[in-house]
Amino acid sequence: MKFTEEHEWLRPEEDVVVVGITTHASTQLGDIVFVELPEVGTTVAKDDEIVVIESVKAASDITAPLDGEIVEVNEALADNPALANEDAMGEGWFIKIKPSNPSQMDAYMDEAAYTAFIA
Protein backbone atom coordinates (compact mmCIF):
# COMPACT_ATOMS: atom_id res chain seq x y z
CA MET A 1 0.00 0.00 0.00
CA LYS A 2 1.21 3.52 -0.83
CA PHE A 3 0.34 6.90 0.64
CA THR A 4 0.27 10.44 -0.77
CA GLU A 5 1.02 13.71 0.98
CA GLU A 6 -2.68 14.51 0.38
CA HIS A 7 -3.47 11.67 2.84
CA GLU A 8 -4.78 9.25 0.23
CA TRP A 9 -3.99 5.56 0.35
CA LEU A 10 -3.48 3.50 -2.82
CA ARG A 11 -3.88 -0.26 -2.79
CA PRO A 12 -3.08 -2.18 -5.98
CA GLU A 13 -5.67 -4.88 -6.70
CA GLU A 14 -4.93 -6.86 -9.90
CA ASP A 15 -4.80 -4.25 -12.70
CA VAL A 16 -6.56 -1.46 -10.78
CA VAL A 17 -5.63 0.73 -7.82
CA VAL A 18 -8.14 1.29 -4.99
CA VAL A 19 -7.99 4.82 -3.55
CA GLY A 20 -9.30 6.18 -0.28
CA ILE A 21 -8.31 8.59 2.47
CA THR A 22 -6.34 7.62 5.53
CA THR A 23 -7.76 7.21 9.01
CA HIS A 24 -5.64 10.21 10.00
CA ALA A 25 -7.29 12.35 7.30
CA SER A 26 -10.81 11.20 8.12
CA THR A 27 -10.24 11.97 11.80
CA GLN A 28 -8.98 15.44 10.93
CA LEU A 29 -11.97 16.10 8.66
CA GLY A 30 -14.47 15.13 11.34
CA ASP A 31 -17.85 13.60 10.60
CA ILE A 32 -18.15 13.11 6.83
CA VAL A 33 -21.68 13.86 5.62
CA PHE A 34 -21.39 13.77 1.82
CA VAL A 35 -18.95 12.43 -0.75
CA GLU A 36 -19.22 13.52 -4.38
CA LEU A 37 -17.63 10.86 -6.59
CA PRO A 38 -16.65 11.05 -10.27
CA GLU A 39 -18.49 9.11 -12.96
CA VAL A 40 -17.30 5.66 -13.89
CA GLY A 41 -15.49 5.83 -17.25
CA THR A 42 -13.98 9.28 -16.61
CA THR A 43 -10.39 9.65 -17.73
CA VAL A 44 -8.37 11.55 -15.16
CA ALA A 45 -4.91 13.05 -14.99
CA LYS A 46 -2.81 13.08 -11.85
CA ASP A 47 -3.74 16.10 -9.65
CA ASP A 48 -7.21 16.54 -11.21
CA GLU A 49 -9.82 17.21 -8.52
CA ILE A 50 -11.96 14.09 -8.59
CA VAL A 51 -13.72 13.76 -5.23
CA VAL A 52 -15.33 16.33 -2.93
CA ILE A 53 -15.67 15.40 0.71
CA GLU A 54 -18.06 17.42 2.85
CA SER A 55 -17.63 17.08 6.57
CA VAL A 56 -19.67 18.83 9.23
CA LYS A 57 -16.97 21.50 9.12
CA ALA A 58 -16.03 22.13 5.49
CA ALA A 59 -15.65 20.86 1.95
CA SER A 60 -12.31 19.39 0.83
CA ASP A 61 -11.09 18.14 -2.52
CA ILE A 62 -9.30 14.92 -3.27
CA THR A 63 -7.07 14.88 -6.33
CA ALA A 64 -6.35 11.95 -8.63
CA PRO A 65 -3.10 10.35 -7.48
CA LEU A 66 -2.50 8.69 -10.86
CA ASP A 67 -3.30 9.12 -14.55
CA GLY A 68 -5.91 6.64 -15.65
CA GLU A 69 -9.57 5.75 -15.93
CA ILE A 70 -12.12 5.60 -13.12
CA VAL A 71 -13.41 2.03 -13.36
CA GLU A 72 -15.50 1.86 -10.17
CA VAL A 73 -16.72 4.18 -7.43
CA ASN A 74 -17.94 3.22 -3.96
CA GLU A 75 -21.70 3.60 -4.32
CA ALA A 76 -22.16 2.71 -0.65
CA LEU A 77 -20.83 6.16 0.28
CA ALA A 78 -23.89 7.82 -1.30
CA ASP A 79 -26.18 6.37 1.39
CA ASN A 80 -23.63 6.14 4.16
CA PRO A 81 -20.86 8.71 3.84
CA ALA A 82 -19.89 7.95 7.46
CA LEU A 83 -18.20 4.78 6.11
CA ALA A 84 -15.28 7.05 5.25
CA ASN A 85 -14.93 7.77 8.98
CA GLU A 86 -15.78 4.35 10.35
CA ASP A 87 -13.58 2.29 8.03
CA ALA A 88 -11.43 4.76 6.11
CA MET A 89 -8.86 2.17 5.06
CA GLY A 90 -11.41 -0.49 4.07
CA GLU A 91 -15.15 -0.22 3.35
CA GLY A 92 -14.79 3.57 3.08
CA TRP A 93 -12.76 3.45 -0.15
CA PHE A 94 -13.64 6.06 -2.81
CA ILE A 95 -12.61 4.98 -6.31
CA LYS A 96 -10.80 2.38 -8.35
CA ILE A 97 -8.47 3.69 -11.04
CA LYS A 98 -7.05 1.69 -13.92
CA PRO A 99 -3.68 3.46 -14.16
CA SER A 100 -2.26 4.34 -17.56
CA ASN A 101 1.13 5.00 -16.03
CA PRO A 102 1.56 2.58 -13.10
CA SER A 103 5.10 3.75 -12.41
CA GLN A 104 3.57 6.91 -10.87
CA MET A 105 2.96 4.71 -7.81
CA ASP A 106 6.69 4.56 -7.14
CA ALA A 107 6.88 8.20 -6.10
CA TYR A 108 4.52 7.72 -3.14
CA MET A 109 5.32 6.90 0.47
CA ASP A 110 5.21 3.47 2.00
CA GLU A 111 3.43 3.02 5.33
CA ALA A 112 6.54 3.72 7.44
CA ALA A 113 7.23 6.93 5.54
CA TYR A 114 3.60 8.05 5.85
CA THR A 115 3.53 7.30 9.57
CA ALA A 116 6.62 9.50 9.93
CA PHE A 117 5.00 12.15 7.69
CA ILE A 118 1.97 12.58 9.95
CA ALA A 119 3.90 12.25 13.21
Binding site: V33, E54, K57, A59
Partner: protein
Amino acid sequence: MPDLSHTPLHDLHVALGAKMVPFAGYAMPVQYPLGVMKEHLHTREKAGLFDVSHMGQVIVRGADVPTAALALETLVPVDILGLEQDRQRYGFLTNDTGGIMDDLMLANRGDHIFVVVNAGCKAADIAHMTQNLTGVTVSEVTDRALLALQGPMAETVLSSLDPKAATMRFMDVADLSLAGAACWVSRSGYTGEDGYEISVPATQAEALAKTLLAHDDVEPIGLGARDSLRLEAGLCLYGHDINTDTTPPQAMLNWAIQKVRRTGGARAGGFPGADIILREMSDGVATKRVGLLPEGRAPMREGVVLFADTESATPIGHITSGGFGPTVGGPVAMGYLDAASATQGTIVFGELRGKRLPLTVTSLPFTPANFKR
Protein backbone atom coordinates in the same frame (compact mmCIF):
# COMPACT_ATOMS: atom_id res chain seq x y z
CA MET B 1 -2.34 30.73 19.93
CA PRO B 2 -0.48 33.37 21.96
CA ASP B 3 -2.62 36.46 21.29
CA LEU B 4 -5.93 34.86 22.13
CA SER B 5 -7.87 35.47 25.31
CA HIS B 6 -8.79 32.49 27.45
CA THR B 7 -12.13 31.92 29.12
CA PRO B 8 -12.16 30.75 32.77
CA LEU B 9 -12.83 27.23 31.44
CA HIS B 10 -9.80 27.10 29.13
CA ASP B 11 -7.85 24.55 31.17
CA LEU B 12 -10.93 22.37 31.49
CA HIS B 13 -11.48 22.37 27.71
CA VAL B 14 -7.89 21.30 27.16
CA ALA B 15 -8.17 18.61 29.83
CA LEU B 16 -11.36 17.33 28.18
CA GLY B 17 -9.48 16.93 24.89
CA ALA B 18 -11.16 19.79 23.03
CA LYS B 19 -9.85 21.00 19.71
CA MET B 20 -9.27 24.70 20.37
CA VAL B 21 -9.68 27.29 17.61
CA PRO B 22 -9.53 31.09 17.48
CA PHE B 23 -12.99 32.67 17.63
CA ALA B 24 -13.65 36.40 18.15
CA GLY B 25 -10.25 36.81 19.81
CA TYR B 26 -10.67 33.83 22.14
CA ALA B 27 -9.33 30.31 22.10
CA MET B 28 -12.58 28.32 22.04
CA PRO B 29 -13.44 24.62 21.84
CA VAL B 30 -14.81 23.80 18.38
CA GLN B 31 -15.34 20.16 19.32
CA TYR B 32 -14.51 17.57 21.95
CA PRO B 33 -13.53 13.95 21.32
CA LEU B 34 -17.22 13.03 20.85
CA GLY B 35 -17.25 15.00 17.58
CA VAL B 36 -19.66 17.57 16.15
CA MET B 37 -22.33 15.12 14.97
CA LYS B 38 -22.65 13.21 18.25
CA GLU B 39 -22.39 16.41 20.31
CA HIS B 40 -25.30 17.86 18.33
CA LEU B 41 -27.45 14.74 18.72
CA HIS B 42 -26.60 14.43 22.41
CA THR B 43 -27.81 17.98 23.04
CA ARG B 44 -31.15 17.27 21.35
CA GLU B 45 -31.56 13.96 23.20
CA LYS B 46 -30.13 14.73 26.66
CA ALA B 47 -28.14 17.82 27.64
CA GLY B 48 -25.07 19.67 26.45
CA LEU B 49 -22.84 22.12 28.32
CA PHE B 50 -21.46 25.05 26.31
CA ASP B 51 -18.86 27.63 27.32
CA VAL B 52 -20.07 30.97 26.01
CA SER B 53 -17.88 33.09 28.29
CA HIS B 54 -16.53 34.93 25.25
CA MET B 55 -19.86 36.73 24.97
CA GLY B 56 -20.22 40.17 26.55
CA GLN B 57 -22.11 40.57 29.81
CA VAL B 58 -23.11 44.17 30.36
CA ILE B 59 -24.99 45.97 33.13
CA VAL B 60 -26.94 49.12 32.22
CA ARG B 61 -27.97 51.02 35.32
CA GLY B 62 -29.93 54.24 35.72
CA ALA B 63 -31.65 55.98 38.63
CA ASP B 64 -34.15 53.13 38.34
CA VAL B 65 -34.99 50.40 35.85
CA PRO B 66 -37.45 52.49 33.79
CA THR B 67 -34.70 55.09 33.32
CA ALA B 68 -32.29 52.45 32.04
CA ALA B 69 -35.00 50.80 29.93
CA LEU B 70 -36.05 54.04 28.26
CA ALA B 71 -32.42 54.96 27.59
CA LEU B 72 -31.83 51.58 25.93
CA GLU B 73 -35.00 51.97 23.87
CA THR B 74 -33.26 54.86 22.05
CA LEU B 75 -30.85 52.28 20.58
CA VAL B 76 -32.91 49.07 20.60
CA PRO B 77 -36.31 48.85 18.83
CA VAL B 78 -38.00 46.58 21.36
CA ASP B 79 -40.24 47.08 24.38
CA ILE B 80 -37.72 47.20 27.23
CA LEU B 81 -39.83 49.37 29.54
CA GLY B 82 -42.56 46.74 29.46
CA LEU B 83 -40.23 43.94 30.45
CA GLU B 84 -41.35 42.66 33.84
CA GLN B 85 -38.82 42.09 36.58
CA ASP B 86 -36.83 38.87 36.01
CA ARG B 87 -38.00 38.50 32.44
CA GLN B 88 -35.74 38.53 29.40
CA ARG B 89 -36.29 39.27 25.73
CA TYR B 90 -34.42 39.27 22.44
CA GLY B 91 -33.44 42.51 20.73
CA PHE B 92 -30.87 44.22 18.54
CA LEU B 93 -28.93 47.44 18.16
CA THR B 94 -29.76 49.19 14.91
CA ASN B 95 -27.88 51.84 12.95
CA ASP B 96 -29.12 54.92 11.08
CA THR B 97 -29.78 52.94 7.90
CA GLY B 98 -31.83 50.33 9.78
CA GLY B 99 -29.05 47.75 9.71
CA ILE B 100 -28.37 45.44 12.66
CA MET B 101 -25.20 46.31 14.62
CA ASP B 102 -25.62 43.31 16.91
CA ASP B 103 -28.32 41.11 18.35
CA LEU B 104 -28.58 40.70 22.09
CA MET B 105 -30.58 39.57 25.11
CA LEU B 106 -32.02 42.04 27.61
CA ALA B 107 -33.19 41.17 31.12
CA ASN B 108 -34.86 43.30 33.78
CA ARG B 109 -33.02 42.43 37.01
CA GLY B 110 -34.96 44.73 39.32
CA ASP B 111 -32.36 47.46 39.68
CA HIS B 112 -30.60 47.22 36.31
CA ILE B 113 -30.90 45.85 32.80
CA PHE B 114 -28.58 42.92 32.12
CA VAL B 115 -27.51 42.70 28.50
CA VAL B 116 -25.71 39.81 26.79
CA VAL B 117 -24.04 40.64 23.47
CA ASN B 118 -22.00 38.78 20.87
CA ALA B 119 -18.27 38.30 21.50
CA GLY B 120 -17.22 39.81 18.19
CA CYS B 121 -19.29 42.95 18.78
CA LYS B 122 -18.89 43.54 22.48
CA ALA B 123 -16.23 46.26 22.37
CA ALA B 124 -18.17 48.17 19.70
CA ASP B 125 -21.50 47.65 21.48
CA ILE B 126 -20.20 48.91 24.81
CA ALA B 127 -18.60 51.96 23.13
CA HIS B 128 -21.84 52.62 21.25
CA MET B 129 -23.98 52.41 24.37
CA THR B 130 -21.55 54.42 26.50
CA GLN B 131 -21.40 57.16 23.89
CA ASN B 132 -25.10 57.35 23.09
CA LEU B 133 -26.91 56.63 26.34
CA THR B 134 -27.40 59.53 28.72
CA GLY B 135 -28.27 59.29 32.40
CA VAL B 136 -27.14 55.67 32.73
CA THR B 137 -23.91 53.81 33.35
CA VAL B 138 -22.81 50.99 31.07
CA SER B 139 -20.40 48.55 32.63
CA GLU B 140 -19.00 45.31 31.31
CA VAL B 141 -19.00 42.38 33.71
CA THR B 142 -15.52 40.93 33.38
CA ASP B 143 -15.36 38.68 36.44
CA ARG B 144 -18.02 36.17 35.41
CA ALA B 145 -18.09 33.24 32.99
CA LEU B 146 -21.16 32.33 30.96
CA LEU B 147 -22.25 28.73 30.49
CA ALA B 148 -25.22 27.30 28.64
CA LEU B 149 -26.88 24.02 29.60
CA GLN B 150 -29.19 22.96 26.76
CA GLY B 151 -31.39 20.01 26.00
CA PRO B 152 -34.41 18.10 27.34
CA MET B 153 -32.51 16.93 30.45
CA ALA B 154 -31.30 20.44 31.35
CA GLU B 155 -34.15 21.04 33.81
CA THR B 156 -33.56 17.76 35.66
CA VAL B 157 -29.84 18.40 35.87
CA LEU B 158 -30.01 22.03 36.95
CA SER B 159 -32.85 21.55 39.41
CA SER B 160 -30.80 18.84 41.13
CA LEU B 161 -28.47 21.72 42.12
CA ASP B 162 -31.18 24.29 42.84
CA PRO B 163 -34.85 23.22 42.69
CA LYS B 164 -35.83 26.78 41.74
CA ALA B 165 -34.56 26.01 38.22
CA ALA B 166 -37.62 23.84 37.59
CA THR B 167 -40.04 26.67 38.41
CA MET B 168 -38.65 28.97 35.70
CA ARG B 169 -40.46 29.40 32.36
CA PHE B 170 -38.87 30.19 29.00
CA MET B 171 -37.21 33.64 29.24
CA ASP B 172 -37.48 33.85 33.03
CA VAL B 173 -34.38 35.06 34.87
CA ALA B 174 -33.47 34.19 38.46
CA ASP B 175 -30.64 34.09 40.97
CA LEU B 176 -29.77 30.46 41.64
CA SER B 177 -27.24 28.92 43.96
CA LEU B 178 -25.41 26.31 41.89
CA ALA B 179 -22.62 24.24 43.47
CA GLY B 180 -22.06 27.04 45.96
CA ALA B 181 -21.90 29.78 43.34
CA ALA B 182 -24.30 32.73 43.18
CA CYS B 183 -25.46 32.52 39.55
CA TRP B 184 -27.64 34.68 37.33
CA VAL B 185 -29.65 32.23 35.28
CA SER B 186 -32.07 32.66 32.38
CA ARG B 187 -34.19 29.92 30.85
CA SER B 188 -33.07 30.46 27.27
CA GLY B 189 -30.47 29.43 24.77
CA TYR B 190 -29.33 29.14 21.18
CA THR B 191 -30.20 25.57 20.25
CA GLY B 192 -34.00 25.48 19.95
CA GLU B 193 -34.07 23.23 23.01
CA ASP B 194 -35.16 23.95 26.54
CA GLY B 195 -32.24 25.04 28.65
CA TYR B 196 -30.49 27.65 30.72
CA GLU B 197 -27.81 30.28 30.34
CA ILE B 198 -25.77 30.67 33.50
CA SER B 199 -23.62 33.63 34.51
CA VAL B 200 -21.25 32.38 37.20
CA PRO B 201 -18.34 34.05 39.04
CA ALA B 202 -15.19 33.26 37.04
CA THR B 203 -13.45 31.72 40.04
CA GLN B 204 -16.28 29.21 40.51
CA ALA B 205 -16.94 28.49 36.83
CA GLU B 206 -14.73 25.43 36.51
CA ALA B 207 -16.13 23.81 39.63
CA LEU B 208 -19.70 24.38 38.40
CA ALA B 209 -18.86 23.05 34.93
CA LYS B 210 -17.32 19.93 36.46
CA THR B 211 -20.37 19.44 38.68
CA LEU B 212 -22.67 19.66 35.65
CA LEU B 213 -20.43 17.39 33.54
CA ALA B 214 -20.39 14.79 36.32
CA HIS B 215 -24.04 14.15 35.50
CA ASP B 216 -24.41 11.12 33.19
CA ASP B 217 -26.67 13.02 30.80
CA VAL B 218 -24.35 16.00 30.26
CA GLU B 219 -21.59 16.19 27.65
CA PRO B 220 -19.40 19.19 26.78
CA ILE B 221 -20.38 20.68 23.42
CA GLY B 222 -18.20 22.81 21.15
CA LEU B 223 -18.83 25.66 18.75
CA GLY B 224 -19.25 23.26 15.82
CA ALA B 225 -22.40 21.69 17.23
CA ARG B 226 -23.53 25.06 18.60
CA ASP B 227 -23.63 26.27 15.00
CA SER B 228 -25.51 23.27 13.58
CA LEU B 229 -27.98 23.35 16.50
CA ARG B 230 -28.81 27.04 16.05
CA LEU B 231 -29.02 26.63 12.26
CA GLU B 232 -31.59 23.82 12.58
CA ALA B 233 -33.42 26.03 15.10
CA GLY B 234 -33.56 28.81 12.46
CA LEU B 235 -31.65 31.24 14.69
CA CYS B 236 -29.50 33.98 13.17
CA LEU B 237 -25.73 34.09 13.55
CA TYR B 238 -24.55 37.68 13.74
CA GLY B 239 -22.07 38.62 11.00
CA HIS B 240 -23.53 35.93 8.74
CA ASP B 241 -27.35 35.91 8.69
CA ILE B 242 -27.67 39.45 10.00
CA ASN B 243 -25.29 42.38 9.81
CA THR B 244 -25.26 46.16 9.25
CA ASP B 245 -26.57 45.61 5.69
CA THR B 246 -29.67 43.69 6.80
CA THR B 247 -32.62 45.29 8.55
CA PRO B 248 -34.86 43.49 11.07
CA PRO B 249 -37.78 43.26 8.58
CA GLN B 250 -35.48 41.78 5.91
CA ALA B 251 -34.17 39.34 8.51
CA MET B 252 -37.78 38.35 9.37
CA LEU B 253 -37.29 39.58 12.92
CA ASN B 254 -40.40 41.79 13.09
CA TRP B 255 -41.71 39.53 15.87
CA ALA B 256 -39.03 41.01 18.14
CA ILE B 257 -40.35 44.56 17.64
CA GLN B 258 -43.37 44.82 19.94
CA LYS B 259 -46.46 46.81 18.95
CA VAL B 260 -45.60 49.65 21.33
CA ARG B 261 -42.48 50.48 19.24
CA ARG B 262 -44.24 50.17 15.85
CA THR B 263 -46.12 52.86 13.95
CA GLY B 264 -49.17 53.77 16.03
CA GLY B 265 -47.65 52.45 19.26
CA ALA B 266 -47.24 54.57 22.40
CA ARG B 267 -43.44 54.65 21.99
CA ALA B 268 -43.25 54.19 18.21
CA GLY B 269 -39.85 54.75 16.63
CA GLY B 270 -37.21 56.71 18.47
CA PHE B 271 -34.41 54.27 17.62
CA PRO B 272 -31.72 54.50 14.93
CA GLY B 273 -33.08 53.73 11.46
CA ALA B 274 -36.68 53.86 12.70
CA ASP B 275 -37.96 55.57 9.52
CA ILE B 276 -36.54 52.82 7.32
CA ILE B 277 -37.48 49.90 9.59
CA LEU B 278 -41.04 51.10 10.23
CA ARG B 279 -41.57 51.83 6.53
CA GLU B 280 -40.37 48.33 5.63
CA MET B 281 -42.71 46.88 8.25
CA SER B 282 -45.70 48.56 6.62
CA ASP B 283 -44.69 48.48 2.93
CA GLY B 284 -42.82 45.18 2.79
CA VAL B 285 -39.23 44.38 1.88
CA ALA B 286 -37.44 43.60 -1.38
CA THR B 287 -35.39 40.78 0.07
CA LYS B 288 -36.14 38.36 2.89
CA ARG B 289 -34.40 35.77 5.02
CA VAL B 290 -35.75 32.26 4.38
CA GLY B 291 -35.05 28.65 5.23
CA LEU B 292 -33.65 26.58 2.37
CA LEU B 293 -33.63 22.81 2.12
CA PRO B 294 -31.17 21.44 -0.47
CA GLU B 295 -32.74 18.50 -2.31
CA GLY B 296 -29.67 16.28 -2.52
CA ARG B 297 -27.22 15.34 0.18
CA ALA B 298 -24.59 17.96 -0.68
CA PRO B 299 -24.40 20.73 1.91
CA MET B 300 -24.62 24.25 0.52
CA ARG B 301 -22.75 26.69 2.68
CA GLU B 302 -22.46 30.43 3.23
CA GLY B 303 -21.76 32.31 -0.01
CA VAL B 304 -23.55 29.95 -2.41
CA VAL B 305 -25.37 32.13 -4.97
CA LEU B 306 -29.04 31.40 -5.69
CA PHE B 307 -30.84 31.55 -9.04
CA ALA B 308 -34.47 31.17 -10.14
CA ASP B 309 -33.61 28.38 -12.59
CA THR B 310 -30.68 26.51 -14.11
CA GLU B 311 -30.11 29.02 -16.93
CA SER B 312 -30.60 32.61 -15.80
CA ALA B 313 -27.57 34.82 -15.28
CA THR B 314 -29.09 37.10 -12.63
CA PRO B 315 -28.85 35.92 -9.02
CA ILE B 316 -31.95 36.16 -6.82
CA GLY B 317 -30.20 35.65 -3.52
CA HIS B 318 -27.47 33.90 -1.58
CA ILE B 319 -26.95 31.53 1.32
CA THR B 320 -25.79 33.08 4.61
CA SER B 321 -25.53 29.89 6.71
CA GLY B 322 -25.56 26.32 5.58
CA GLY B 323 -24.30 22.91 6.47
CA PHE B 324 -25.34 19.47 7.53
CA GLY B 325 -28.18 19.23 10.05
CA PRO B 326 -27.57 16.10 12.13
CA THR B 327 -31.13 16.00 13.50
CA VAL B 328 -32.67 16.71 10.08
CA GLY B 329 -30.32 14.07 8.65
CA GLY B 330 -29.39 16.16 5.64
CA PRO B 331 -28.23 19.55 4.51
CA VAL B 332 -30.00 22.70 5.75
CA ALA B 333 -29.41 26.35 4.97
CA MET B 334 -30.75 29.86 5.34
CA GLY B 335 -30.23 32.88 3.20
CA TYR B 336 -31.75 35.91 1.54
CA LEU B 337 -34.00 35.82 -1.51
CA ASP B 338 -35.81 38.41 -3.59
CA ALA B 339 -39.25 38.73 -2.01
CA ALA B 340 -40.96 37.37 -5.16
CA SER B 341 -39.17 34.02 -4.71
CA ALA B 342 -39.29 33.97 -0.92
CA THR B 343 -42.46 31.93 -0.59
CA GLN B 344 -42.63 28.49 0.96
CA GLY B 345 -42.36 25.67 -1.56
CA THR B 346 -40.60 27.69 -4.26
CA ILE B 347 -37.72 25.81 -5.86
CA VAL B 348 -34.54 27.83 -6.35
CA PHE B 349 -31.10 26.75 -7.53
CA GLY B 350 -27.77 27.11 -5.78
CA GLU B 351 -24.57 27.13 -7.76
CA LEU B 352 -22.19 24.55 -6.29
CA ARG B 353 -18.96 23.59 -8.00
CA GLY B 354 -20.26 24.72 -11.39
CA LYS B 355 -23.61 22.93 -11.08
CA ARG B 356 -26.99 24.37 -10.20
CA LEU B 357 -28.69 22.22 -7.59
CA PRO B 358 -32.28 22.65 -6.38
CA LEU B 359 -33.32 23.87 -2.94
CA THR B 360 -36.83 24.33 -1.57
CA VAL B 361 -37.79 27.51 0.27
CA THR B 362 -38.91 26.31 3.69
CA SER B 363 -40.31 27.77 6.89
CA LEU B 364 -37.98 27.98 9.88
CA PRO B 365 -37.11 26.30 12.18
CA PHE B 366 -36.07 22.98 10.61
CA THR B 367 -36.50 21.23 13.96
CA PRO B 368 -39.38 22.16 16.30
CA ALA B 369 -38.53 24.33 19.29
CA ASN B 370 -38.81 22.57 22.65
CA PHE B 371 -39.07 25.59 24.93
CA LYS B 372 -40.86 25.36 28.27
CA ARG B 373 -43.32 28.22 27.83
